[in-house]
């Protein structure tokens, strides 16, 4: 148990070190720009997984909160007369709160349904918001909005955005970890396994689901705001993008639905790959073919995702390595270990 903990602590320390040192080692602006987009998607996939991965309700409309965060930041920065620079980053949490507030009524409606109906309703919300953003006056219609652009050097620009997003990522993953080990997180997992029985055990399912839904929308809104500020412009079709919904879901699925590290790994691989392809071969959508192929491969070969399958493999190695050695001394116990492992 303690060995497992120290391995985990080591992995977390390495992760934070890599996160902090990356722009110092790779200073090429193209690389740091790819890293920035990757971080944005790591936050979004983690936050999405906190709700969908735990509760089993697959939401395909989190672009609503991404877009609302993006528009909230652009609108507030422009109307409140924020000067371009560090000050605008103060609006990132505000963007998160706006997204969270919008998640309350949309979540209330969507969560009345289950399974496929729930998925369809979330998709419908995404298109409603996209259409609204294209047609309303205050969102600038199809020409979108331009938040102020800070006059930093290219390197400083990317690095500043990178570190702000890294902080949001650390906060999001910490939140996801806290939720996972909490009573609230346990109740979400119970809902995933058998919602009716959870109700019979006193779990107030409606309230739990809505809380998780809103909680998962907030970080997505925050990175939406960062995204708008980073690009310096925001259009309806990029803010409310169906591909965004599919991407974050795919990232979590590939890495391992419901695990902490899964969506991080999935986002790291998929988003970096996509950005690399875009840089190498222009803004074609060829990466979608890769996405599809990867998804198929994961579903066929590792249906539970990379992280759980890897864990299982390691567990099996351990048992195999320990079983023959301990057998002569404690035949009973070694037999037990093998038996439980076999059942698993």
């Amino acid at each position: 148990m303690s060995a497992r903990w120290s391995v985990r602590a080591l992995l977390v320390a390495i992760g934070i070190a890599v996160l902090g040192l990356f722009p110092l080692v790779f200073s090429n602006p193209t690389t740091t720009s790819i890293a920035e987009f990757t971080l944005i998607f790591m936050v979004a996939a983690s936050a999405w997984n906190m709700f969908s991965g735990s509760s089993g309700y697959i939401a395909l409309g989190h672009a609503v909160y991404f877009g609302c965060g993006a528009y909230a930041l652009a609108l507030l920065a422009n109307h409140l007369g924020f000067a371009a620079g560090w000050g605008v980053f103060a609006l990132v949490p505000v963007a998160g709160i706006v997204a969270g507030l919008i998640a309350i009524p949309t979540g209330l409606i969507a969560l009345r349904a289950r399974r496929h109906t729930f998925v369809v309703i979330t998709i419908a919300f995404m298109f409603i918001f996209q259409l609204a953003a294209s047609n309303l006056a205050f969102t600038g219609g199809t020409s979108g909005l331009q938040p102020p652009t800070p006059l930093w050097s290219v390197k400083a620009y990317n690095d500043n955005f990178y570190y702000v997003t890294a902080v949001v990522l650390v906060v999001t993953v910490t939140l996801a970890w806290l939720v996972r080990r909490s009573r609230f997180g346990l109740q979400l997992l119970a809902i995933r396994d058998d919602e009716e029985r959870a109700r019979g055990l006193g779990v107030r399912v409606a309230r739990i689901k809505l809380t998780a839904y809103v909680l998962s929308a907030i970080p997505v809104g925050m990175v939406g705001g960062i995204y708008a500020y980073f690009l310096g412009q925001i259009f309806p079709q990029f803010a409310f993008d169906p591909l965004f919904d599919l991407s974050i879901a795919l990232m979590a699925f590939i890495g391992g639905l419901g695990t902490l590290a899964g969506p991080l790994l999935g986002a790291l691989v998929l988003e970096a790959l996509q950005q690399y392809f875009t840089v190498q071969y222009g803004a074609s959508q060829a990466y979608l073919i890769i996405y599809g192929a990867l998804f198929l491969a994961v579903v066929l070969l590792l249906p539970r995702g990379v992280i759980p399958s890897a864990q299982e493999l390691i567990e099996r190695w351990r048992v195999r390595a320990s079983a023959p050695g301990s057998e002569p001394e404690e035949p009973g116990r070694a037999g037990d270990v093998v038996k439980t492992a076999g059942v698993r």
Binding site: V179, S182, R183, D194, R197
Partner: protein
Amino acid sequence: MSALIEATGVCKSFGGLQALSDCSLSVTEGQIAGLIGPNGSGKTTLFNVMTGYERCNQGEIRLRGEPISRATPERVFALGVGRTFQITRLFFRLTVLENMLVATQRHEGWIRSAVRRAGSVAERGRALELLEFVGLDRLAHSPAGILSYGQRKLLELASLLVADPEVLLLDEPTAGVNPTLINQLTERIRELNRAGKTFLVVEHNMEFVMGLCQQVTVLHQGRTLVTGTPEEVRANPAVLDAYLGGADDDDL
């Protein structure tokens, strides 16, 4: 001798099917009551109505005299009525211990519940104690999905006990369970009853019902046919008719 939980004049129909019509039942505090009846006589529907899973069309469910007919399942449980299901339901991907912790009834704010660890030391200790009580403590950290059918029934019962409900409604606790485990289950129910818990048990296993229950109610086609001690029920000709067919057939 006041009724702890009672159903009076309950009617429930699903479309054209009248599942319960004017069905009444009353369980006294500290009793082990049995509910029997042929297949399709409405036993499980009555359970569903009593625990908030279904709304009755007419009639009333009362707990200690307070109406609970409109309460949600989560509310009914919080008021002290726990139930198990005919087809055992567990959280199969959670561990046995985690299954036990779901029902801990801790009252705290949203943020606190989202941040604090699932199961305090005391709650985990109590959960392990209850697992020992049903003989599953050795499997505490295994996924619930690996349990055998009988073990699942025991875990389902134990996971209710975490919240310390006053009344336990058990839907066919012995179906598909081997005789040794049935004996163990009977022992556990008796022990809990001595500690003050009230039971209402739906069963097809007559030996189990007649041996365990102090009062038996027979349902037939959605109606309460008779209520009485096991001996009275066994001797009642209407019950024999319900189980073995109409009186006319007896001549054949």
